[in-house]
Symmetry: C2
Subunit: 201 residues, 2 copies
Amino acid sequence: MNQSASPYHHGDLRNSAIIAAAELIETTGSYDITIAQVAKKTKVSAPALYRHFTDKEALLTAVRELTHLGMMDYLAHAQASTEPGTLAHLDALGLAYLRFAKDKRAFFGLMWEDQGDPEKRRAEARAKRTGFQVLQEAIELYFDRHRPRHNRTSLQTATLMWSTAHGIATLQHNRILDTFDDEAEPGTLLVTATRAILNAD
Amino acid sequence: MNQSASPYHHGDLRNSAIIAAAELIETTGSYDITIAQVAKKTKVSAPALYRHFTDKEALLTAVRELTHLGMMDYLAHAQASTEPGTLAHLDALGLAYLRFAKDKRAFFGLMWEDQGDPEKRRAEARAKRTGFQVLQEAIELYFDRHRPRHNRTSLQTATLMWSTAHGIATLQHNRILDTFDDEAEPGTLLVTATRAILNAD
DNA sequence: GACGTATGTTAATAGTGATAACATTTAAAG
DNA sequence: CTTTAAATGTTATCACTATTAACATACGTC
């Protein structure tokens, strides 16, 4: 019962390490963290982490899972605060995405990083798809109420909208948007693009 | 005159190193190269490179300059092979961007990387703007011939179009597009978005 | 209570960017 | 020319990385 009596075994090192890593990413503003930093923050030796993660990448993958959940929170909040099937609903989803990219800058960079290994990529595909499907379903509801002039599917439209939102978010993330247009306001760009994609024939 | 007589001084180490770095990035398909690799390829000791670059980042910055020139080639070719002021001209520019992202995968990743230091970012801003301005001017010519229903400026439109192209390119780059929509064809997405952005009110 | 497994530890390795101290070549100045 | 300073190389060294090896301790089960 007395924890300080047996400090040899941590008890929940795996989860603690994931949280420590996430906190480090949060505070340093970069996902370029080291195993040693995580170990220190968890008050454990660096090799101990290898009992719970095959390598550094595996730890980051675990953080990515958390990150996807975090993004889902943003999307869920947007969903809950607007009426499904409305244009405002789609706007809210896109704006939530931009807000997430800005609020959780380092995590945004981390989560879309290429995994290299096709194996690992597949493992994370589900989490990525989940967010995308939220958008696609929202678009379906929108199309139910507002029949578009074009004949693109909800899937095609979602891909188009996500691409646009992702482009804006990424340019903002890498601080390039200002370079192109110092007046550009990401949110304005997004709602403009959204309307164009939904309505154009 | 006899080069092999005095191999101590390389002669043009700075440029050789930049080219070696670029070739390494090309062949390995990643811009995560090491100073040691570049030194070896240039047949010089690693510290020698520090006579010509303050640090690794400075070397990569030099490669980025080359990369931007390379992208300009793609854009220039697109410009030369289509009639200015036409929709086909704008399509060609966007498609050239996508093709560059695919052909020169590692370089595409490298060139848009965030510089962190605002100082360094400014230094590269010019190169980034150059490509953007090509698009903006092409849009101006297009608007001269095809008065749009909306009243967005060429700058706003260029920002919107670049964001979209960049989003598609980035999702493709990070191998996420398939995850969302395995039928999605980047070029088709782009021309669809282009028309929507240009024509929608 | 003995014993295997899980989970820690410290020691050690190869590879990283970078600096210091030293060597050689080149170019300028006398 | 020759002396000398600057430019540009070299090898040795450092602090730090991810990771593995060898060893130690605690936990759960028979």
